[in-house]
């Protein structure tokens, strides 16, 4: 057990701290979850790339910083930005999901055209994966792309397309090979959201806000070269990026920050002559959550060490999404309970705390438990891949639905 990073890394940490001290005031106040980045945020992003604090390992010719991959340095950057309470680089779906996919599987031309403007926040992307009938069973997606005069012609509907309103571009899974088995008939296309035939409707959620959209495609024509990877290989192309999303949803720094905010709230929230934290029952729940947050933090350090050794991580990694999302939700739940009746104030009410953020989080985090692979799907993955338990037996196909559709 060695928790020291060593002199080279301590020096690097010092460098990051100095940067944050001298430039931190230029960071944007709030980036917002789904909005197009502000001018301020775009400028901040460019500064971070220049210093190698975001897009660190992306080659220079594609607009990145071009450093060798170094897990510890990336970790130090994340830790220091988090500790300083200063937003790091943009973390939208274009940067976290599309860019790694293009770098791995895109053509040279696609990389040159899209990676740099995406990194710089000039091009905003949305993700067209889920459909009303294809959630956990994503590979059963039905949005079709038939070939006509050198174009794919797309018809169908996507859901959960966050940022679709603001997005310039979409990366989208469509069924190009109607006769192929379900995983083999999908292609990964990229196209402009200005293409005729696209309609975006906001999808209002239980939070009262429309964090997502539904996106409808009617005879949307996309040139056939706007495909990433080969026709029919879209499932495998997309899977290269789903891993990135699941990694994103389990950030130990984010959990620690939420927890510290909860302690502060419970110390400040007045109940009669005392404070919320003076209530022994609430305090006990707080201490229990703290131990869980610590467990996830050290579990994260263990994964980091495994990665450093080139070890894929195993069970410690498989459980991160399930546990982190649930824990984040429980932290918000305790905040609401600690506030008592005040906890239900929302919609900008008088006496509402922190802009209703705890209620919003409580509700939105339930969305995160469901999204990006539901808790139940996560449990299947843990059981099947982690514990090597038998898979759910496949039901006999009712005269092969796929084949019938192909024939029609």
């Amino acid at each position: 057990m060695d928790l020291e990073y060593g002199p080279e890394y301590d020096a690097f940490r010092e460098e990051v701290r100095q940067f944050l001290n001298s430039h931190g005031d230029r960071a944007p106040a709030g980036q917002g979850r789904a909005a197009r980045p502000s001018t301020e945020a775009v400028e901040w992003q460019k500064l971070l790339i220049e210093h190698g604090y975001t897009a660190r390992t992306i080659p220079r010719e594609y607009g990145g910083y071009g450093a060798e991959p170094d897990i510890l340095k990336s970790r130090i950057i994340a830790e220091e930005f988090s500790r300083a309470g200063i937003p790091g680089g943009l973390a939208n779906q274009g940067i976290s999901m599309l860019v790694p996919t293009l770098l791995e599987l895109g053509t040279e031309e696609q990389k040159r055209q899209w990676v740099e403007p995406t990194l710089k926040g000039e091009v905003v992307w949305c993700q067209g994966y889920s459909e009303p009938g294809a959630g956990s069973d994503l590979a059963s997606l039905k949005t079709s792309a038939r070939v006509d005069k050198g174009d794919f012609v797309i018809n169908g509907q996507k859901i959960w397309t966050s940022t679709a309103k603001e997005a310039d571009m979409i990366f989208c899974l469509v069924r190009t090979e109607a006769d192929a088995p379900k995983h083999g008939g999908i292609s990964y296309l990229i196209f402009s959201m200005d293409t005729p035939g696209i309609e975006v409707r906001p999808l209002k959620t239980m939070t009262g806000h429309a964090e997502f959209n539904e996106t409808f495609f009617t005879d949307v024509r996309v040139p056939m070269d706007q495909i990433v990877g080969q026709r029919g290989q879209g499932w495998f192309v997309a899977n290269a990026t789903l891993g990135h999303e699941r990694g994103m949803l389990g950030d130990p720094d984010a959990l620690e920050n939420r927890f510290h905010a909860l302690v502060k709230l419970m110390q400040e929230e007045r109940v009669g002559q005392g404070r919320a934290i003076d209530n022994a029952v609430l305090r006990d729940r707080l201490a229990a959550l703290q131990a869980e947050v610590a467990a996830m933090k050290y579990n994260g350090m263990r994964i980091l060490s495994d990665n450093l050794k080139g070890d894929p991580g195993g069970m410690a990694k498989l459980i991160v999404k399930l546990q982190s999302c649930e824990l984040a939700h429980q932290i918000s739940a305790l905040a609401i309970d600690a506030m008592g009746e005040i906890g239900i104030l929302y919609h900008g009410s008088t006496r509402e705390r922190e802009g209703g953020a705890w209620q919003w989080n409580y509700m939105f985090q339930l969305g995160l438990i469901i999204g990006g692979g539901t808790a139940q799907i996560q449990k299947n993955i843990i059981a099947e891949r982690g514990l090597d338990m038998p898979r759910e037996p496949k039901l006999a196909k009712p005269a092969s639905a796929d084949q019938k559709k192909g024939a029609a």
Partner: protein, 363 residues
């Protein structure tokens, strides 16, 4: 940066596991648990040959001078095999106490024979956490008076380390005049605890350090109990997965039913991060003593909660068989129950954690 076990610790883990798989099959555990002598001499001497008895004894006294993380690695394996041997008090807490607060003479007298496996000291510090049934020991003019409950590694101990009301530790030989030893029978037959009644018993005090050594023993003890519950929990998860992979109902392996699969996944998901939490707490005990109490509280309380869930869920996955004595699954269930209650249950320990951080208002 390397968060995890070193090569040496992995070798230690594997050596203990191999030793126990050879000497301590479940049939042997059952023999010990159902018989008169609860501890296994055979397993004890095998562990002694590996140097386990002296692992926490400083090298100058004939031990190996290892760390608490090393001891946690061993504890996990002992629990995995539900080994009926003394360890926590006799080979972890007593050497730590003597090394920290023992006189030169006490160290020279006891540490070498603890290391060699010739002597064992039980430890009674329960009342420094919470006194039940009015228990407590006072020290006056070198004489002890009162009652200490839940002395750990009780059976066959050659001496006892007992905390008085100020937290100071005293060494009492097992045959001291005026000492009455009453065994306490717990759910867990693989470990031994007992009650000590003192009627003006002459005792040798350890250094008067304002309870600092007793506090170190609480920290170390909690980490080792947490590590123990990880080993027992690991065994219970593996057994549940194995059973679910063999048992058939409705023409299917029950492990293919999501209801059963998800129970196993939930156990694994809650159990796995505990390992890192306990490793960190054990490491902190030696590397950052100022943070050790909070880390130990977190490890103890969280593993206590998680493994109660694991113990009942694994039993449920085994269905009716889990409830019987036939599979012996209950040995691990009870080991986990013991780990949870001893040296402070989750609520008591979380209250301490809150106080340590200044969350409680000064009275």
């Amino acid at each position: 940066m390397d968060f995890g076990l070193s090569q040496d610790q992995k070798m230690l883990r594997d050596a203990v596991a191999r030793c126990l798989s050879g000497t301590c099959p479940l049939d042997h555990v059952r023999e010990c648990a159902e018989g008169e002598a609860s501890y296994s001499d055979k397993v004890q001497s095998a562990l002694s040959e590996l140097g386990i008895t002296g692992m926490m004894v400083p090298e100058q006294h004939g031990g190996l001078g290892m760390t608490l993380l090393d001891a946690a690695v061993v504890a996990e394996q002992l629990a995995y095999a539900v080994a009926p041997v003394p360890f926590l008090a006799s080979h972890v807490l007593a050497p730590i106490a003597l090394a920290q607060a023992g006189s030169n003479q006490q160290q020279a007298e006891w540490l070498p024979i603890i290391a060699s496996g010739e002597a064992r000291i039980a430890v009674a510090i329960a009342e420094t956490i919470e006194a039940r049934d009015g228990a407590g020991v006072t020290s006056n003019g070198g004489k002890l008076e009162g009652t200490a409950l839940f002395a750990l590694d009780f059976a066959g101990a050659d001496a006892f380390l007992v905390a008085d009301a100020t937290g100071r530790l005293h060494l009492v030989p097992a045959d001291a005049e005026g000492l009455k030893k009453v065994p306490l029978t717990t759910i867990d037959r693989t470990r031994s605890v007992g009650e000590l009644r003192f009627g003006q018993v002459a005792a040798e005090p350890l250094a008067d350090d304002g309870g600092a050594t007793a506090a170190r023993l609480r920290d170390a003890g909690r980490v080792i109990l947490a590590a123990d519950s990880i080993g027992a929990g690991q065994a219970m998860i593996e057994k549940a997965v194995d059973y679910a992979g063999q048992r058939e109902q409705f023409g299917r392996i029950i492990g293919s039913f999501q209801a059963v699969k998800h129970m196993c996944a939930e156990m694994a998901a809650r159990h796995e991060p505990c390992r890192s939490l306990v490793w960190h707490a054990a490491h902190t005990f030696d590397a950052a003593p100022d943070e050790a109490s909070l880390a130990a509280c977190q490890a103890k309380s969280h593993t206590g909660e998680v493994h109660r869930f694991v113990a009942r869920t694994s039993t449920e996955v085994h269905g009716g068989m889990g409830f019987t004595d036939l599979l012996g699954l209950h040995y691990w269930f009870k080991r986990i129950g013991f780990d949870r209650q001893i040296l402070g249950g989750p609520e008591a320990v979380r209250t301490e954690a809150a106080t340590l951080q200044g969350w409680t208002r000064a009275a």
